[in-house]
Amino acid sequence: MNITEYWRSNKQWSKYLGKKAKVLAVSLMEVAASDQTALLPYSYLLLDLEKSKISLMGAAHQEFKIGDEVEIVLRKIKKEAQEEIIVYGLKAEKIYV
């Protein structure tokens, strides 16, 4: 993700931040592309937002399963930042009840 892509993606954050969703499908990734290897292991989730769906990385090293309730939050999505920016993006965080 370069700096212009990052700037464009920022504009989508407000649409999803704070939204609650339900896990439709989940995978715990043990191998990742070079941008994310330092974040391993992490979950990759398909979330149901009722009127639409979204795919996101799971926050921290939380364990997810189908049906879990999550909240969409802002977290680092790439460890090694290029061009002196810290790359934040949307992730899903489990809601514990």
Binding site: V26, E30, A32, D35, Y42, S52
Partner: protein
């Protein structure tokens, strides 16, 4: 439709350290011309299938690279549709022949993947996913999502996923061009390293180098293998935009078109090469192609219904899983392998199914005598 496969060639699929991209192209051109036994000048046009030579090898403009193998420099173009590049190149060639503009064309698929690191390869392959909507994913992760959904909805089990792998590695023993000639047990697969749960290392097709080529012609020929029908389906690039994650709609659309054109039904097909980039992908493919009912294929494969002596033979070459998956070559290899089976008189009605990305693109070809 009167299009015949008058030449076919598959190079060894493997980690080919000593061969460059250009070496593979030369091998493919020479091999298929030798099989077809035609004057190279009779090639009217070339369709080159390749996913990512610009990223893997810093080489774009592949049409010119293949054309210059011929003294008469036939017109050439590269077709890209991720892992379905080979299937799409076939469709483009078939449409060109049907238009009457050309009479004889070469379709060559090639990919040289092993000159970069594993994580770079994962990043390059992931460019076939939606960059904006699937950031952080990999291809194993996307198919893992499909597997997780299928397991939850239809009760597909770990053992059934493993049975796809065991079968295809067994089939590869009959294919000297296959990357792997190694038998695995259900336990081997279930105990292999986790890549993206529930998919393990042995659920995944390998990283491969390779070339495959066919020559198609609308001129009269004594060769047996004929194109009977073809189809092309598309769906959303991102999984999150799909209506139903339990099926690949692009495969269903492509199959419907191909069967309609061929005037055949699923029960007419004796053998199929399907896109098993991951174990779950073969299960989805044989359901969406209509060979098995939705939710029933995994159990059927585990019971031996997709191998010799069963209902249909799926992936006799070993599939992507055991024969190897040099991405751009795969769809062409499927056609070359099946055409060769027809030439040898082993089968009369066969199908090839090639998928791009996590199912956004699908190409189906039906061949027969």
């Amino acid at each position: 439709m009167n299009i015949k496969v008058i030449g076919n060639y598959i190079g060894k699929f493997a980690e080919l350290w000593e061969q460059s991209l250009t070496d593979l192209i030369k091998e493919g051109v020479e091999g298929v011309l030798a099989d077809a036994q035609i004057d190279p000048k009779s090639i009217d046009a070339i369709f080159v299938a390749n996913k990512a030579s610009g990223s893997f090898n810093n080489q774009r403009h592949l049409g010119a690279l293949v054309s210059e193998q011929f003294a008469h420099f036939p017109p050439a173009m590269r077709i890209e549709g991720a892992c379905a590049s080979g299937g799409l190149a076939m469709l483009a060639a078939e449409q060109a022949l049907l238009s009457g503009v050309y009479k004889t064309v070469l379709v060559l698929g090639v990919e040289k993947m092993t000159d970069v690191s594993g994580s770079e390869t994962a990043a390059i392959l992931a460019t076939a996913a939606s960059r904006e909507k699937e950031y952080g994913s990999t291809f194993p992760a996307l198919y893992a999502i499909l597997a997780n959904y299928h397991m939850n909805k239809y009760g597909t089990t770990r053992e059934q996923l493993s049975s796809v792998v065991v079968k295809n590695h067994l089939h590869a023993f009959d294919n000297p061009k296959a990357q792997f000639h190694k038998k695995f047990t259900l336990e081997d697969v279930a105990n292999s390293a986790m890549v993206a749960s529930p998919l393990r290392l042995l659920d995944c097709s390998p990283i491969s180098d390779g070339v495959a080529a066919v020559i198609l012609s609308s001129k009269p020929s004594s060769r047996k293998a004929k194109i009977l029908g073809f189809g092309h389906g598309q769906d959303t690039l991102a999984l999150a935009d799909r209506q139903d994650l339990g099926r690949l709609a692009a495969t269903e659309k492509a199959a419907k078109q191909a069967f309609l054109m061929a005037k055949l039904s699923q029960t007419d097909i004796q053998v199929a090469e399907v896109h098993d980039c991951f174990s779950i992908a073969e299960i989805l493919a044989v359901e969406d192609l209509g060979f098995f009912a939705k939710g029933k294929a995994a159990a059927a494969i585990a019971k031996g219904k997709a191998t010799y002596g069963g209902q249909i033979v799926i992936n006799p070459s070993g599939g992507l899983k055991a024969c190897g998956h040099p991405v751009g070559a795969t769809g062409v290899k499927q056609i070359a392998f099946l055409a060769n089976l027809i030439e040898k008189g082993k089968f009369e009605r066969v199908l090839a199914h090639n998928v791009g990305g996590s199912g956004a693109t699908a190409a189906v070809n039906i061949l027969g005598i």
